[in-house]
C-alpha cells in the first residue's frame, strides 16, 4: 500500500504493508532508530512520536494510520546541530542518564508544553506519567521541563 505523509518536514511516500507497526517502519525501513521500543504494548512511552503535533505511541500505530499526517520523530526536533529548547534544557539540567527513554520524553514534553506552556511541577509530573524512565527518578527531567517552559521556543 502507498502511504503519503510528511516526515520531519519532508513529504514522504512509502510502499509498505498497511498493518506494519509504525515503530518498525521508522526503525527498520527508514533507519530512524532514535524512536525506541521498550515494551511493545503501549505501557512505557519510549516509542513516542508526534502525529500532527500530538504525542502518540508508534508501537500501537499501524502504517495506514500515517496517511496524510504530519509526523515528527526525535530526529526532526533539532535544527541541524542546534538543539530545540526542550533538548537544550534536558542537556543542561542533567535529565539524561542512559537516554533510552529520552527521545520519547522530549517529544512528550513538546506536546505537554504546547498544551500548557507553563506547567507547575505537579502538572509536569502528571503530564509525563505515561513515559517511564528507570534511571533518573524524574527529578531532573521535571527540572528540565520547567527550564524549557521558560526558554523561548525556536520553532
Amino acid at each position: 500500500m502507498r502511504i503519503t505523509f510528511k516526515l520531519n518536514g519532508v513529504d514522504t511516500v512509502i510502499d509498505t504493508n498497511p498493518d506494519r507497526r509504525v515503530v518498525d517502519l521508522l526503525r527498520e525501513d527508514l533507519n530512524l532508530t532514535g524512536t525506541k521500543e521498550s515494551c511493545g504494548a503501549g505501557d512505557c512511552g519510549a516509542c513516542t512520536i508526534l502525529v500532527d503535533r500530538e504525542s502518540r505511541l508508534s508501537c500501537l500505530m499501524l502504517a495506514a494510520q500515517l496517511e496524510g499526517r504530519e509526523i515528527t520523530t526525535i530526529e526532526g526536533v533539532a535544527k541541524g546541530e542546534v538543539l530545540n529548547h526542550v533538548q537544550k534544557a534536558f542537556v543542561e539540567k542533567g535529565a539524561v542518564q542512559c537516554g533510552f527513554c529520552i527521545p520519547g520524553m522530549v517529544l512528550a514534553t513538546m506536546d505537554l508544553l504546547s498544551r500548557n506552556p507553563s506547567p507547575s511541577r505537579a502538572e509536569i509530573r502528571e503530564g509525563l506519567a505515561g513515559n517511564l524512565c528507570r534511571c533518573t527518578g524524574y527529578q531532573k527531567i521535571v527540572d528540565a521541563v520547567e527550564a524549557a517552559s521558560a526558554y523561548p521556543s525556536n520553532e
Binding site: 518498525d24 526503525r27 527498520e28 533507519n31 530512524l32 532508530t33 532514535g34 524512536t35 525506541k36 521500543e37 521498550s38 515494551c39 511493545g40 504494548a41 505501557d43 512505557c44 519510549a46 520523530t73 526525535i74 530526529e75 526536533v77 533539532a78 538543539l83 533538548q87 537544550k88 534536558f90 542537556v91 543542561e92 542533567g94 539524561v96 542518564q97 542512559c98 537516554g99 533510552f100 527513554c101 529520552i102 527521545p103 522530549v106 511541577r121 509536569i124 509530573r125 502528571e126 509525563l128 506519567a129 505515561g130 513515559n131 517511564l132 524512565c133 528507570r134 534511571c135 533518573t136 527518578g137 524524574y138 527529578q139 531532573k140 527531567i141 521535571v142
Partner: protein, 773 residues
C-alpha cells in the same frame, strides 16, 4: 551551557554529560539499534515449564516454514554449553534438564521477525515434568527435588556461617531481645533497553558481537568457553547501554548471538528480547527470607545479633553466591555489635534466576536490620536517630563481622547532617498537618554499601589515553557506561589533569579489541577503580608532553612549562607549542599512555572459609548514608504516599555534582518502587507479572522531590577523594518507608512491597485487636 564547555574542565564542577547531546538528538546508537541491510533475525524458544527432563525437541515444522534459515539445539553448541561467572551451571541451550520457565531450548534464525516468531511458535517438545522447588526453606529439606544433581551441597549454592565475640552466649547479657522475620520480594531491573545485540562472523574468522552489557571482557571469556572458540577470535563491543542495574552483569544474548553468527553464512545477526521475554528470562533481585534477633543493653548499646538468611537464587549461579556474601557482610548494618551469629544460604530453586541488582543483597538485609533498629529504639524509648548515632561505627571500629574500618567512614556525619536538616527538625509539625483520613510518619534508615570485588578476585583497571596528531585527546574507556555517566567523568578527569576543554576530548567506549580490560561496570567500582587508573595515565601523558616541550625550548626543566587548552606555554617567555605540534614530534607509541590500578583489599583474618572470601567477603571500602522518608498513609485505602525524601550520603569527594545527584535520585526511585509497588510475582515458577501493566515501576507522578546532600569526606585511596555512589541509595527507601508507616499508623509490615492491601490489612488488624482489648 556553552560557558561550561569553553573552559578547561575541573573536578567538582557540574559538567553537563558529554553523552547527553547525542542522546537528546536520538543519534546515540545502542546495541538495539544495529541492523544492516541483510540482517538475520535470531530468537529463542523458551521452556515455559519450571522443572522437567527434556526428551525430544520437534523442530521440523519450524524448519519447513518459508523464511526460516535454521533451527539450532544444544547439539549445535560446539563448546561446553555452560555459562556462569563462578559456578558455570547455565546452559546456552538446554541439553538435559529444564530448570526454569525462561530456559532457552532452541535458537531460530529467520529472514524476518514475523517468520522468526511464527517459527518459534511451531517448535514443540516432549518433556517429563519433575516436581519443582519453589520455596527456599522447603528446598533444603532432604525430600526436596534437586535442581542440580551434581551440586555437592544439594540445593545450596553457597552458604556462610560466622560467629563473632561470644556468639549466642551473649544473649544472656542483653537486657532486651527482639525478633523479626522479614520477607522481601523479587525485583525486576526493568531497564528500558531490553537485552539486545548484533553479531557477525567476519571474513577473517573473527566473531564480532555488539551487545548491551556491563561486562564485555568477561563476556568474551564466557562466549569462548561455552562455544569452544579461541578467545582471540572474539571481539565484544559495548556501546552506551540503555540501562542495566546489574541485569546485564553477565551473559544474556551474547553466546546465543555468537552461535547464531556461526550459522548465518556471514550475514549479520540481530537478537532483541521483547519485554515479556526479558522479564521471563532475565535475572531478578533475590527474594529473601530473613530471621533476625537483635539484643541490646538498657543503656542503648547493641550487644548481640543473630541472623539467618535465605536467598532464592533460582536455578543458576548468576552471581548468587556473591549476592549472599554481600548480604552477610552487611546484615548488621553500620553498627558496632560485638557478638554475632550470622548464617545464610543462597538456595537453588526453579523460580526465575536471582542475580546481580544494584545493591547486590544489601537492600534486603538493610530492610530487615533498619526495621529492627526502629523496633529496638521504640522499646528503649530512644529517638531513632540518636539510637543509631550511639551505635554507629567510625574509622578504627570493627563492624558487625569484625572487619576493622580503615578507610573513610562517614555514617556518623550522615546521621548528624540528617538530624540537623529542616525536614527532620520540623517533622512533628509536618505530621500534625495531615488532612482528614490521612496519617503521616517520618522514617529513617542508615545505609552502607561496599565497593569492589573483595579480598580474592583482583579489582583492577587499565586506562589508556592517546594524544592524536591533531592535538586531541582520546580516552579508551575500559568500563561500560550503562547510563551512570562514567564516560563523561573520565573526560572530566582527563581534562582537569591536562587543562583541556571537553570538546577536545573523545571517548572510545569498551571494545575488547581497542580498550584495555578493566573489569565489570558493577559493585560501585567504576569511577573508583577506572578513575584511579586514568589518573595514572593522564599524569604520565602530561609529564611526557611537558618534558618534550621543555627539551624543545631548551628550558631548564618541565617546571617552567604549563599545559593550557590546546597547547603548552613556556611561562618565562610566553612561547607556546600546540599539542598538535608536540604530538607530531612524538612517535606513535609515545602518544599513548596507560595506567593501571588495583583496588586495596581487606587483610583482616575473620576466620571465614576461602569459598566465602572468593565470593567477596569481606570488603574494605564502604560508602554510607542516612535517609528519611516523609510519608502519608491513607487510612481508608492503605495507600502509602512518600511526599518528600532526604538522602545524606558519604560517597567521598564529589567529582561531578550533577552525575552524583543522578545516581542518588535514580537509586531512590528504584528503592521506592521496591518499597511500594514492584513485585515480580511467581506462582509455581511461572511469572504472573509479565509486563509493565502488572509489574508497576514508579512514574513521574509517583516519585517525590528528593533532597540529596553529600557530606564530602575525602577518601584518600579514591580518585580525587571519591568513593562509589552507584548503589548505596537503593538500600534506604524500603526500611525508611516501612519505619515511616510504623511511625504513622503503629503497624509493622514484615513483607514487602508495602501495598495498599497489606497496609490496610495491618491497620484493620491493629484496630480489631485494640477493640477486643
Amino acid at each position: 551551557m556553552k560557558s561550561q564547555f569553553d573552559r578547561p574542565l575541573s573536578i567538582g564542577s557540574p559538567l553537563p554529560r558529554v553523552d547527553a547531546y547525542e542522546k537528546v538528538k536520538g543519534s546515540t546508537k545502542y546495541a538495539a539499534d544495529y541492523y544492516g541491510s541483510d540482517v538475520v533475525w535470531a530468537g529463542v524458544k523458551r521452556a515455559g515449564v519450571p522443572h522437567a527432563l527434556l526428551k525430544t525437541i520437534y523442530t521440523q515444522r519450524a524448519r519447513d516454514l518459508p523464511g526460516v534459515i535454521c533451527v539450532l539445539t544444544h547439539k549445535d553448541v560446539p563448546g561446553t554449553n555452560r555459562q556462569g561467572v563462578i559456578r558455570k551451571d547455565q546452559p546456552v541451550l538446554v541439553d538435559d534438564k529444564i530448570r526454569h520457565c525462561g530456559d532457552a531450548l532452541t535458537l531460530v534464525l529467520a529472514e524476518t521477525r514475523d517468520a522468526l516468531n511464527k517459527a518459534i511458535d511451531l517448535i514443540t517438545c516432549d518433556v517429563m515434568p519433575i516436581p519443582g522447588v519453589f520455596d527456599v526453606e522447603s528446598a533444603l529439606e532432604d525430600s526436596a527435588p534437586l535442581v542440580h544433581e551434581d551440586n555437592a551441597d544439594g540445593n545450596v549454592l553457597l552458604k556462610g556461617d560466622l560467629k563473632t565475640g561470644k556468639g549466642s552466649a551473649a544473649v544472656e547479657e542483653c537486657d532486651l531481645i527482639l525478633d523479626g522475620c522479614f520477607e522481601t520480594q523479587r525485583q525486576e531491573h526493568a531497564y528500558l533497553e531490553t537485552e539486545s545485540g548484533w553479531a557477525r562472523s567476519e571474513e577473517d574468522g573473527k566473531l564480532v558481537i555488539v551487545c548491551s552489557t556491563q561486562t564485555p571482557f568477561r563476556d568474551r571469556m564466557e562466549v569462548a568457553e561455552s562455544l569452544g572458540i579461541d578467545m582471540s577470535r572474539i571481539r565484544i563491543i559495548a556501546p552506551y547501554v540503555g540501562g542495566a542495574f546489574g541485569g546485564k552483569d553477565g551473559v544474556t544474548v551474547q553466546s546465543l548471538l555468537g552461535l547464531a553468527a556461526l550459522h548465518s553464512g556471514g550475514r549479520p545477526v540481530k537478537m532483541w528480547w521483547g519485554r515479556e521475554e526479558s522479564f521471563l528470562s532475565g535475572t531478578k533481585r533475590h527474594a529473601a527470607r530473613m530471621y533476625y534477633r537483635l539484643g541490646a543493653k538498657k543503656s542503648g548499646f547493641l550487644h548481640y545479633l543473630n541472623v539467618r538468611l535465605f536467598l532464592d537464587t533460582g536455578p543458576y549461579d548468576h552471581l548468587g553466591g556473591v549476592v549472599l556474601a554481600l548480604a552477610l557482610e552487611h546484615c548488621g548494618g553500620p553498627y558496632r555489635i560485638q557478638n554475632a551469629v550470622l548464617k545464610g544460604s543462597a538456595v537453588y530453586t526453579n523460580n526465575p534466576i536471582g542475580g546481580a541488582f544494584r545493591g547486590f543483597g544489601v537492600p534486603q538485609v538493610t530492610a530487615a536490620m533498619e526495621q529492627m533498629m526502629d523496633m529496638m529504639a521504640m522499646k528503649l524509648g530512644m529517638d531513632p536517630v540518636e539510637f543509631r548515632l550511639k551505635n554507629a561505627v567510625s574509622r578504627g571500629d570493627q563492624n558487625c563481622v569484625g572487619k576493622t574500618l580503615v578507610n573513610s567512614t562517614g555514617i556518623i556525619d550522615c546521621l548528624e547532617a540528617l538530624s540537623m536538616h529542616p525536614l527532620w527538625l520540623e517533622r512533628e509539625r509536618w505530621k500534625a498537618d495531615a488532612g482528614p483520613s490521612k496519617r503521616r510518619g517520618v522514617g529513617v534508615a542508615a545505609v552502607m554499601q561496599a565497593s569492589g570485588y573483595g579480598p580474592v578476585v583482583p579489582d583492577y583497571a587499565n586506562a589508556k589515553l592517546e594524544l592524536s596528531v591533531d592535538g586531541r585527546l582520546c580516552v579508551y574507556c575500559g568500563v561500560v557506561d550503562m547510563g551512570q555517566g562514567n564516560a563523561g567523568t573520565n573526560v572530566q578527569i582527563v581534562g582537569s589533569i591536562l587543562a583541556q576543554r571537553a570538546d577536545m576530548i573523545d571517548v572510545i567506549l569498551p571494545d575488547t579489541d581497542q580498550t584495555l580490560a578493566s573489569g565489570s561496570a558493577s559493585a560501585s567500582r567504576c569511577t573508583y577503580t577506572f578513575g584511579n587508573a586514568l589518573i595514572a595515565a593522564a599524569e604520565a601523558l602530561k609529564e611526557r608532553i611537558l618534558q618534550r616541550a621543555a627539551d624543545l625550548l631548551m628550558a631548564r626543566g618541565k617546571e617552567e612549562l604549563a599545559l593550557i587548552p590546546g597547547a603548552v606555554r613556556h611561562l618565562k617567555t610566553g612561547r607556546e607549542f600546540s599539542l598538535s605540534r608536540i604530538a607530531q614530534l612524538f612517535n606513535p607509541a609515545e602518544r599513548v599512555a596507560t595506567g593501571h590500578f588495583r583496588a586495596p583489599i581487606a587483610t583482616d583474618d575473620l576466620g571465614v572459609p576461602e569459598d566465602l572470601r572468593l565470593h567477596g567477603f569481606p570488603h574494605t571500602l564502604f560508602s554510607y548514608g542516612a535517609h528519611a522518608a516523609l510519608t502519608e498513609v491513607d487510612e481508608l485505602t492503605g495507600a502509602v504516599d512518600v511526599q518528600r525524601y532526604l538522602a545524606v550520603s558519604d560517597c567521598g569527594n564529589v567529582i561531578n555534582p550533577e552525575t552524583y545527584e543522578q545516581q542518588i535520585q535514580g537509586s531512590i526511585a528504584q528503592g521506592l518502587g521496591y518499597a511500594l509497588s514492584e513485585d515480580f510475582d511467581v506462582t509455581d515458577g511461572k511469572a504472573v507479572t509479565p509486563d509493565f501493566s502488572t509489574y508497576t515501576i514508579p512514574t513521574s507522578a509517583d516519585v517525590p522531590e528528593i533532597d540529596s546532600i553529600p557530606v564530602q569526606i575525602y577518601e584518600t585511596t579514591g580518585p580525587f577523594g571519591l568513593k562509589g555512589v552507584g548503589e548505596i541509595a537503593t538500600n534506604g527507601p524500603l526500611p525508611a518507608v516501612a519505619n515511616a508507616v510504623a511511625d504513622a499508623c503503629g503497624v509493622r509490615i514484615f513483607r514487602s512491597p508495602l501495598t495498599p492491601e497489606r497496609v490496610l490489612g495491618a491497620i484493620r488488624e491493629k484496630e480489631r485487636k485494640e477493640s477486643v482489648e
